[in-house]
């Protein structure tokens, strides 16, 4: 009898077993995500580094070479895999679209949060939410049918190029940067504004000297986030940039970005060949840049938090 009771008391109850099971299962789900992230980094890195280790391409030549033509070997007997045209193409469209989008996004955010928080915000909020959701191929298609012909008419040439890519990316990142900037402005405490207005500042002085200063880290995060999105955007850019792996010399001639070469190239090369490995190296550059953007956002966050 005692034995039986002891057994019963020492046995885990059904609820305790369930508790353990639930905790384990949910922990495993979380670990699955984490392991995936590391797997992505390791896989892409191992494929991307093969260009340098098994095909013996010099990494400096890869990053600074101006000729991208993996099927051809140059005078030194090295394949022509200079990624500079794509890397610079990616950076140029990213920076230009961010430069174009930032004033509009921050202006709209200020309008929504400070000037017309009721009527204006009510109108703009759903529009921006919807725009975040428009698929990137739709932006690409509009770029192709509206922006490219317009540029062709104004500047001549084919219309494909950095400028078209910049416009498409500008509209694409605008809603993201705007809604994050609104969040940044919203987190500025109300009494900052009240104090400034009580000191006799005009509305604009309050916004410019107080609210914007306080929201700077949040705004910077928003812009960097938009840049990260622009840098990684593939299809919309690929559709309008012209896909010529040349070093960009002006804004209206065909160029290419890391993502555009990847989307067009990876299906046409054989796994394990140099041509394929070189593309994976481009993917690795893309991955590294995405990690760097992430790091920058973290650093901004930390700095912003310290100054409070």
């Amino acid at each position: 009898m005692n034995n039986k009771l002891q057994k019963q008391l020492l046995k885990r109850s059904k609820a305790a077993k369930l508790e353990r099971l639930g905790k384990t299962v949910s922990f495993l789900a979380l670990m699955l995500i984490t392991v995936t992230v590391f797997a992505i980094i390791i896989f892409v890195a191992s494929k991307g580094l093969a260009t340098f280790f098994s095909n013996h391409v010099n990494i400096i030549d890869f990053l600074t070479g101006k000729d991208w033509n993996p099927n051809v070997t140059n005078a030194k007997g090295q394949p022509e895999v200079g990624a500079l045209p794509m890397i610079s193409g990616s950076f140029v469209v990213t920076i230009l679209s961010a430069l174009l989008a930032t004033p509009f996004a921050i202006g709209t955010a200020i309008f929504m949060n400070e000037i017309s928080p009721h009527r204006g915000a009510k109108l703009l909020q759903p529009v921006i939410e919807l725009l975040v959701g428009i698929p990137s191929v739709v932006y690409g298609f509009i770029g192709l049918t509206v922006v490219v012909p317009a540029i062709r008419n104004i500047f001549g040439g084919s219309g494909f190029g950095i400028l078209a890519g910049t416009f498409v990316l500008f509209v694409m990142i605008l809603p993201t940067v705007t809604s994050m900037s609104v969040d940044a402005l919203r987190s500025v405490p109300r009494y900052y504004r009240e104090a400034a207005l009580a000191l006799g500042a005009t509305q604009w002085q309050t916004i410019y000297k107080v609210v914007l200063r306080a929201a700077t880290p949040g705004m910077l995060t928003a812009v960097v986030f938009g840049m990260a999105r622009a840098f990684g955007e593939a299809l919309a850019v690929q559709m309008v940039i012209g896909n010529a792996a040349l070093l960009p010399t002006n804004l209206v001639s065909p160029a290419s970005t890391l993502t555009s070469v990847l989307t067009t190239g990876i299906g046409n090369t054989v796994m394990g060949s140099l041509q394929n490995n070189a593309l994976w190296s481009l993917a690795l550059v893309l991955l590294m840049m995405s990690l760097i953007f992430n790091l920058v956002i973290r650093m901004i966050g930390r700095k912003g938090a310290m100054s409070k």
Binding site: L30, I33, T36, F43, T108, P135, V137, F141, T145, L235
Partner: protein, 294 residues
């Protein structure tokens, strides 16, 4: 210039900027809908695409998009729910948790083309799934997990602690409290997050061109046995989705009415996303009313 004048100028400028944005966005939406609507018809929405001649539809692509969406949700929702529960209810403040959070952040900011390439390498090549719906669904799962996990975690965090205390005080275990009290209370918000992420999945293309493939073989819509190759439910067939179709016909399509087809398909995509957004609002609102006293 005195401060009052500069105040007026600045505010006027802000009005101009905000209205420019509204005009750009309205023009964009108007253009998509107006140029797309003439192409829409029952025939267009249901008939298969044609490669060389005019008059093709988007029937198969539309079906593929929805099938892929459902499959992705079936795979990713349980994982995201588990991860969200652990992060919000169990995770302690330690290095492991912050590592996991960093990993999720990295995953959410990865370019979707990189996620697609990873899916290509692992599922299409290593596991030998080939270009298939299954490969596509796994790739989209990675694409979807970080945002879905975050939104579920936020939904759980918004449930007041009194609910947890109540459950524990009644003698429920922590897991039972979570399962029977916290998750139901957070359900409206969770569903809103799910529907919004469905909109994102529906329009995604870059992660799919190397995983679900760029071809849409003919389907036999009378055959619902998932093991037959021409069955719509077969998860191992290549499946071009609507978003991929738009990209494909614009970069290498040779049918004479490529522009009309892409206008129509774009309109369908945008209207669907709009529908998802409205549904998210409606469901969240309705369920919240139903499940709470408010």
């Amino acid at each position: 210039m005195n401060s009052k004048v500069s105040n007026q100028i600045a505010i006027a400028t802000l009005y101009v900027i905000a209205s420019t944005i509204v005009v750009i966005l309205a023009a964009l939406l108007g253009y998509i809908i107006i140029s797309g609507l003439p192409a829409l018809s029952w025939h267009f929405l249901t008939s298969p695409a044609k490669a060389f001649t005019a008059g093709g539809g988007i029937g198969i692509q539309l079906f593929n998009s929805f099938y892929l969406l459902i499959l992705t949700m079936i795979i990713s929702f349980p994982i995201a729910l588990g991860a969200g529960i652990y992060l919000n209810e169990y995770a302690k403040q330690n290095w492991l948790t912050s590592l996991v959070r960093t990993a999720i952040e990295i995953l959410s900011s990865l370019p979707s083309v990189v996620v697609g390439l990873f899916g290509f390498l692992v599922f299409v090549v290593q596991f030998g799934f080939g270009f298939s719906i299954l490969s596509g669904a796994f790739a989209l799962t990675f694409f979807n997990l970080p945002l879905l996990t975050r939104s579920i975690e936020e939904a759980l965090a918004a449930v007041p602690d009194e609910q947890r205390e109540g459950g524990l005080a009644l003698g429920l275990s922590k897991w039972e409290t979570v399962l029977h009290i916290i998750v139901p209370a957070a359900l409206p918000t969770i569903l809103t997050g799910v529907i919004l992420s469905a909109g994102r999945i529906f329009g995604e293309a870059a992660a799919l061109i190397f995983t679900a493939g760029q071809s849409a073989p003919a389907l036999n819509f009378t055959d619902w046995n998932p093991f037959n190759i021409s069955s719509p439910l077969n998860p191992m067939r290549p499946a071009e989705t609507l978003a991929v179709h738009i990209w494909k016909i614009n970069s290498e399509g040779i049918m004479p009415d490529a522009k009309a087809i892409s206008s129509g398909a774009s309109a369908v995509l945008v209207i669907s996303v709009l529908g998802f957004n409205l549904l998210a609002r409606f469901v969240g609102h309705r369920l919240f009313k139903r499940l709470t006293a408010g």
